[in-house]
């Protein structure tokens, strides 16, 4: 598209104002479309027919360049004197506090799995996908196991992290925290009294969401675990035991093994 040359008469204030507004971005090569076309023609015309204005524009560009250099150098100097690591430590502390706080809140919640008779669709989705992985796993465990103690929930969560291959050293350091789960009113163990029990090993790379979905598909509910070997006991409705075993075994990448 060709624009006619801008005559001296047509060098009105509107064009001059527009050119001065666009000049900084034109100089940085950041204009496109109509703005770029306008500036190209305007500069061409100015250089050819308005030498005084052209000199002014050159001075403007020099001023911009000089100012930019000074400000960028000042920015480097300002940033260099900042306590970067202190800020980073403060940030990481906040992230850790967020996780701890979430654990405490989740640990106080009643059991919430689709297999539970008190399951509600609202409380079944309490963990946003934006929550940290460890938080989601810990929360899920707290809910699934009916944990009342954050410490207990965390101990269990640490063992699940082992199953996920994240922290193997916790295997032998945390078993004392695996308190018995039966006996409490409404506990998963008592709720599972009339249900069939399966021993399940989940795949190390399985996500909390994938495990939750696999269990929901068979009406399953974790009632204990993980054992020292990383095995979980899952309660399922007795009438569907065979199909549940078959379904869980077919969940490749989520379930490694299923035993009666």
């Amino acid at each position: 598209m060709n624009q006619p040359p801008i005559s001296h008469d047509s060098m009105d204030n509107a064009d001059l104002r527009r050119a001065r507004e666009l000049l900084p971005w034109y100089a940085q090569g950041q204009l496109a479309g109509d703005d770029h076309l306008f500036m190209s023609h305007w500069l061409e015309n100015t250089m050819a027919h308005h030498p005084e204005l052209a000199a002014d524009i050159r001075a403007e560009l020099a001023w911009l360049r000089s100012t930019q250099t000074t400000l960028q150098a000042d920015m480097q100097a300002t940033s260099a004197r900042q306590p970067q690591e202190a800020g980073l430590a403060a940030l990481m502390q906040r992230i850790a506090e967020e996780s701890s706080s979430a654990i405490e809140k989740r640990a106080k919640k009643p059991i919430n799995t689709p297999a539970n008779p008190h399951f509600s669709s609202k409380s079944a989705l309490p963990i946003p996908t934006s929550a940290p992985w460890i938080e989601r796993m810990q929360s899920w465990l707290s809910d699934a196991l009916g944990m009342r103690s954050p410490a207990l929930a965390f101990g269990i969560a640490a063992l699940v992290m082992l199953q996920a291959g994240v922290i193997s050293a916790l295997l032998l350091s945390e078993p004392a925290q695996q308190a018995p789960l039966s006996g409490a009113p409404n506990s998963p163990a008592s709720a599972a009294a009339d249900q069939a029990l399966l021993t399940v090993a989940f795949a190390p790379q399985a996500t909390e969401l994938a495990i939750r979905q696999a269990l929901a598909a068979v009406g399953g509910q974790i009632v204990s675990g993980p054992s020292a070997l990383g095995l979980y006991t899952v309660a399922i409705p007795p009438s569907s035991e065979d199909s549940a075993i078959s379904q869980l075994r077919s969940a490749k990448g989520v379930v490694d093994s299923v035993q009666r």
């Binding site: 001075a59 960028q72 000042d74 940033s79 940290p132």
Partner: protein, 223 residues
């Protein structure tokens, strides 16, 4: 510490791809998320600090740092919502702007209200184009910072994002949540006022409170 600001367009794209990859790792919320967050913090905290510092000219470094940490914490929380519609740096600076406005609401004295000293700048003959080149290097930086502080906040922000971050009209508009035309107008006026301020200083026409650049003065001197 380095500041994330490549000038080559291909380097900008490459750097943004690195930032986007870090953001994706953060959003994944897995074992590598916190390490990715630390990397992104190191990559962008200089940009965020400079941006916040330019606006909160009267806050001390610790107050500015607190806004930086607030900003990066929000980046951590909101990472899964990043849709890739802009450069990561633009997105982060947009968050920083919200955080610094929160800080201003809590402590209005953290930023200096401009005093209209250069509001008539556009009426002055534009004979100051090379003024800044006449200043000694150190003075130039100090007085430039001083004159920037005298600009209305949003004009100062626009000029900072243009000259320091090298942002496009569209990116600045995103950070400032305004139309592109507004950004152009802000920069137009900011340039004129900045030149006017520097010209006044050079001609020793500055008012009494222009005896020293802002860096040499304490917060209470301005309130």
């Amino acid at each position: 510490m380095s500041v994330s600001r490549p000038s080559d367009p291909s380097a900008v794209l490459s750097q943004d791809a690195e930032h986007a990859a870090l953001l994706a790792r953060i959003a994944a919320r897995d074992a590598g998320s916190e390490a990715a967050m630390a990397q992104l913090y190191r990559a962008l905290q200089g940009n965020v600090f400079a941006f916040v510092r330019r606006r909160l000219s009267l806050a001390d470094d610790h107050e500015v740092q607190a806004v930086v940490v607030d900003t990066m914490y929000e980046v951590w929380r909101a990472a899964p919502q990043f849709a890739g519609g802009s450069q990561v740096k633009t997105w982060v600076l947009g968050i920083a702007r919200h955080k610094l406005l929160d800080a201003v609401r809590k402590d209005p004295h953290a930023q200096r209200g401009y005093d209209d000293i250069a509001d008539h700048a556009e009426t002055l003959p534009d004979e100051s184009a090379d003024i800044i080149n006449q200043l000694a290097e150190q003075q130039r930086a100090e007085w430039l910072a001083y004159c920037l502080d005298k600009l209305p906040e949003e004009q100062r922000e626009s000029l900072h994002l243009l000259l320091v971050e090298g942002m496009s009209v569209e990116d600045i508009a995103q950070v400032q949540s305004c139309p592109g035309g507004t950004v152009k107008t802000r920069v137009f006026h900011a340039k004129a006022k900045l030149k006017s301020c520097l010209a006044r200083w050079l001609k020793h026409e500055e008012p009494a409170n222009m005896q020293a650049p802002v860096k040499a003065q304490k917060k209470e001197d301005w309130v």
